[in-house]
Symmetry: C2
Subunit: 241 residues, 2 copies
DNA sequence: CGCGATATTGATATAGATCAACTAATGTGG
DNA sequence: CCACATTAGTTGATCTATATCAATATCGCG
C-alpha cells in the first residue's frame, strides 16, 4: 500500500479501510524523482499534491541574494504540499534532497473523494494543521535557541518523526543532507554547523558518518535543544471531529 | 455582523449569505477580555475556537528560561485558534495584547454547521493554511534577515494585514505592542529593537508615537525586509474546491 | 505628584559570520 | 582502475552584528 505511512503514529487508526482505499485511489502510480530536483516554485499554481513514499524532500524560500531558508524537512509518509489543495498557489519551493519515490494526488480527485468521505476531509485538514505546528516550533527554534540548540532540536525532531514511520534503527537513520543544508535549516553558516557538529560528536552525543546519523544520547540533545515531542501530535488518538 | 472581517480581502466573496449566517450562528455572543490576559496555555485541550472581533492578540512559546517567542500577531477578523478544531490540543499560548472583543465557536457547533455546509469546511481549512503560510514567512524572516530587515518585514506584514480589514488610515494604525513585544516577535532584544526603530525613524520611513505607528515609506521598508505580500493570499479569488 | 512601566543611550562582551586555505571524499571519463 | 575534477568537510584568523550590562530619561496613570 503506497500510503501506508500516511498519518502513521498519529491518528491513522481512525481511518476506516474504505477511507484508506479511497486515499490509494486518489494517488497516481508512483514515480521516481532524482536527487536535488526542484518540483515546485514559489508562486506556482498547483493542481495536484505530492505524497512522499520514500526519500527526503524539503521546502524552502530563497532570499534576494539566493540565500536559502529551509521551511521544513519532508520524510516518508508526508503529504508534502497538501496545503496546496486549499491554497491553489504555493508560497515556497519544494525540492528533493535524495532520490524520492512519490505519488501525486490530482486535486479534482481529492475533491471527488472528499464528497464521498467527509470524515476523511477532517483527517486531511488535521494533517495540514500538524504541518503548521511544526512551522511554529521552527519559529521558536530560530528565534530563541543558540546554534547548538538549533542543531540539536532539529535532529531530535527529525529522529522522532522518522522513528514514527519506522525509518530509525538503533537511533540511526539515513541522512542525505549536507552541512550546507543543515545550515539552511537552522539559520547558520555551514562553517558554524561544522563546528557545532564537531562539538556534539566530541561530547559523544552524536555520530555523523557518511550519509548516516546516529543519535547516541537523545536525552542530552533534547535538553540542549529544549525539545519535547508534544507538538508532533504523535501517539494520541482523540477522535477527529 | 460579528464576523464581517472573516476572510475579508481574501475569498470572502465566495461565502454565500447562508454560509455567512451559519458562521454567525456558530459564534457565541461577544465578550471583552482585558489587555495582557492569557486565554490558552500550551498543552491545553480545547473545545472551542476564538474569533477576534477587535483588538490585538498574539500566540507564543516560552523557552525554559521564560524567554518568549511570538509565533503570530493576531488582528481583527482572525480566527485565532481555528486549528484547535482539528488539533484538539494546542502547542502554544495565546494572550491579548490590548483589550479585545472576541466571540467563541464551540467545536460541536462547528461540526454541526460543517455537516450542513461542506463548502464552508473548505473555507475554514483555507483559513488555517493561510495561517501556516504566515508561519513560513516568519521562519524566513528569522532565519535570513538581519535586525532591521526583520522589523521592517514584520511591520510591512502587519500593515498589509490591517489594511485588508480597514484598520489603516493614511498608513497609520493602532499599536499596542511595546518594544519588548517587537523583540519577542523578531528574535531580538528590546535594546536592539529600540536602536533599529530609531534608525528607521531617522531615515524618515516610520513614525512611532505613543500607541500608534505610521508607515511613511512602505516601499523602502518592503525592500529592506524583502517583503512581498503574495504569501498573504489577498485579493485573489480562485474557487475554493 | 509620584511611582512603576517603558524607552533611550552608552560601554563592553561575544556568538557566530566571513574570509581563506587546505583536506578528504566522491564521482567520471579515458 | 586510475587520474583528475568536483563536491563536501575541516580548521584557523579575523571581523561584526547583536547581546549584555548598567544607568538615566520619559511616559502614563492612580
Amino acid at each position: 500500500m503506497i500510503s501506508e505511512h500516511f498519518l502513521q503514529g498519529r491518528r491513522r487508526s481512525q481511518l476506516s479501510d474504505q477511507e484508506k482505499l479511497a486515499i490509494e485511489e486518489m494517488l497516481s502510480p508512483p514515480v521516481t524523482i532524482p536527487r536535488r530536483t526542484t518540483i515546485i516554485r514559489r508562486g506556482e499554481e498547483v493542481s495536484r499534491s505530492t505524497f512522499l513514499i520514500s526519500g527526503f524532500m524539503c521546502r524552502y524560500i530563497d532570499d534576494r541574494n539566493g540565500f536559502r531558508q529551509f521551511l521544513s524537512l519532508q520524510t516518508p509518509g508526508d503529504f508534502v504540499d497538501l496545503h496546496g489543495y486549499p491554497l491553489q498557489r504555493l508560497d515556497h519551493e519544494i525540492t528533493t534532497l535524495s532520490e524520492c519515490r512519490v505519488a501525486y494526488a490530482p486535486h479534482h480527485k481529492i475533491t471527488a473523494v472528499l464528497e464521498r468521505f467527509p470524515h476523511l476531509g477532517r483527517m486531511l485538514w488535521f494533517a495540514t494543521v500538524v504541518d503548521a505546528a511544526l512551522h511554529r516550533e521552527w519559529i521558536f527554534r530560530l528565534g530563541r535557541l543558540d546554534a547548538a540548540g538549533r542543531v540539536a532540536h532539529f535532529l531530535c525532531e527529525t529522529c522522532t518523526r522518522l522513528a514514527a514511520v519506522g525509518c530509525v534503527t538503533d537511533g540511526a537513520f539515513d541522512w542525505p543532507l549536507i552541512q550546507q543544508d543543515l545550515a539552511e535549516a537552522t539559520g547558520l553558516t555551514s562553517v558554524h554547523v561544522n563546528r557545532v557538529l564537531r562539538q556534539l560528536r566530541q561530547s559523544g552525543w552524536l555520530d555523523v558518518s557518511g550519509r548516516r546519523i546516529a543519535i547516541l544520547d537523545f536525552e542530552r540533545l533534547a535538553a540542549l535543544g529544549e525539545f519535547s515531542d508534544d507538538y508532533l501530535y504523535l501517539g494520541d488518538t482523540p477522535q477527529t471531529p
